[in-house]
Amino acid sequence: MSTQLRGARPQAAIDVEGAGARVVLSGDWTLSVLNPRCVDIRRQLEAASGAPAWDLAGVSRLDSFGALLLWRAWGRRRPPQLVLPEALESVFGRLADLGDASLPVEPPYRFLDATAHLGRLLLGLVRHLGHFVVLVGQLLLDLLYLLRNREHWPVREMSANFYKVGVKAMPVTALVGFLIGVVMSYLSALQLRAFGADTFIVNILGLGIIRELGPVLVSVLVAGRSGSAMTAQLGVMRVTEEIDALTTMGVSRYVRLVLPKVVALTLAMPLLTLWGSSVAIFGGMVSAYVQLDMSFDYFLNALPRAVPVANLVIGLVKGAVFGLLIALVACHFGLRVKPNTESLSANTTASVVTSITVVILVDAVFAIVTRTIGLPYR
């Protein structure tokens, strides 16, 4: 169809008359006709470019692409004798007005720029930290304000966020937790049976999951699921100027947007951790039953003896701290989004990567600080 249509239009043609003294153009000089034959046309124009007389009376249509081709062949000025239909005047008028305008040039990259680039990276890091401190400080100030003005608590937003990051995350947490529990139990059971130490499966699963794996696993899931969503939401609100609209109405972005997310995730994470760890242990229990023939009764009775309750407390505290960090990091990056899609995607990625890294770093700190607490065999 398209070729038919193109075929139906008169093709651009160049006829040179009088031994190169006069050039007669005809047909359609438009982008869709010219672009496929651009090289050919340009060569013909080049060959004819010295001619003093040009006749464009036979041109049926001429758009700015065609005009530009001619203009360049003419050396950016009108040839001495030009026959130009009145309707085509404006195109060449615009080209003449354009002169030889060029894009603003960017200075070339020098060695010194590399140093400057490095310096800017470092300063950027410092600015990140500064911004983060401002975020935390502002949140604390807003909390103080809210403690004195009870009616300003964003309770609805908190509950909505709690539902989004907590309740809605339960199925995926359960699925992943269950599978991890099964796998861990299966692998440990293989080893333990070799030593005849079957009953230690309760210790391994209990300690490992409740103290360590549960909180970290749930944090990674939540960072990917809710952290990215928070960053993206705040980012889009930046892009669409919704945050500016809020500010104009005198609504603090920290109180209305950041605080509910932070509070909701800090409260939801311990509960999610509890849920995730429970399901993981259940998975381990099922696997132990299948592999080692260990009854549920025995497992559940042995669990409190093998795992001091301090471990549960550590697990839940870790959950709360990780939740707080994930939400803070997510909001930090969300509020840094610049109004374009590239920045949105970069910040969302940075948010998830940073929060997972921070969670694992802080987990290591926890491991060192709590090394004397809740471990039965030392």
């Binding site: 169809m1 398209s2 139906a8 982008l31 001429l62 530009l68 309707a87 603003p104 109004p339 374009n340």
Partner: protein, 262 residues
């Protein structure tokens, strides 16, 4: 001339649109002839933007049919559809610039997609398009977020013009432009029309522009086309909406201003 030139660039046949349970359009018939500037007017929320979106296939009608250049928009192979799509350009109400690309790359985007690969040619073309909408080369490297509302409109128009379309669909092209720039827009469209026989469908509330540009006016009201014809004919139609839209004192003044520009 040949048959291809005489087919209607836009033809709506019995088109109805529904969002949920509300009907926005009911049985709309509209035929836009080649080389005409059709102004689509109507109250806010009467479905003008929706109608433009139907024309370019962003929205499928609940009933009826849209034909562009004599064929259904989605007819034919992928290549044919693409060729058809390259024959029209659209200016969105909010500009819809690619926020991750600078002004230059935004305007160059359709050209690069089309296969213009000569960088020097591309640069001149983009600068020319920007000059057409009265923007200088100094804005070319700015990002869309660094532009004013009116500038966004003009860059978006330059992008819509990039592929030299035969049909232009413009959603409120002069909203956000100062009167001087609006006059410049009118001059630009008129010049393009003279040189290329461009067909334009524009949504506008700006009576100056309407009176200066439109060869026909389609009035959209209560989900149907109330009247379609030259402005003078429309003005004689007896209808409360037309009465309010065209015959108030302010409208008369604006129309007179627009007419004097011709």
């Amino acid at each position: 001339m040949n048959a291809a030139r005489n087919t209607l660039p836009v033809e709506l046949k019995g088109l109805s649109t529904r969002f949920g349970s509300t009907w926005v359009h009911r049985n709309i018939d509209l035929a836009v002839p080649v080389g005409e500037v059709v102004a689509l007017v109507g109250g806010s929320g009467t479905g003008k933007t929706t109608l433009l979106r139907q024309m370019v296939g962003l929205l499928r009608p609940a009933e009826g049919e849209v034909r562009l250049f004599g064929e259904p928009l989605f007819a034919g192979s992928r290549a044919e559809q693409l060729a058809r799509r390259r024959r029209f350009g659209m200016l969105f109400q909010q500009g819809a610039l690619f926020s991750a690309l600078n002004v230059f790359a935004n305007v160059a985007f359709p050209l690069r997609e089309f296969g213009v690969s000569d960088e020097a040619m591309l640069r001149d073309l983009v600068l020319l398009k920007l000059a057409m909408v009265e923007l200088g080369p100094e804005v070319a490297l700015r990002m869309p977020a660094e532009l004013s509302g009116g500038m966004i409109k003009r860059v978006a128009l330059a992008r819509a013009l990039a592929l030299e379309p035969e049909l232009l669909l413009l959603d409120e092209p002069t909203a956000g432009l100062d009167p001087d720039r609006s006059a410049g827009f009118v001059r630009l469209i008129r010049a393009l029309q003279k040189a290329l026989g461009l067909t334009v469908v524009l949504v506008t509330h700006d009576l100056d522009t309407l009176a200066a540009l439109a060869t026909r006016v389609a009035v959209l009201s209560e989900g149907r086309i109330l009247a379609f014809g030259p402005l003078d004919e429309i003005m004689t139609v007896q209808d409360p909406f037309i009465e309010r839209f065209f015959h108030s004192e302010r409208s008369q003044a604006a129309l007179a201003r627009g007419r004097s520009e011709i």
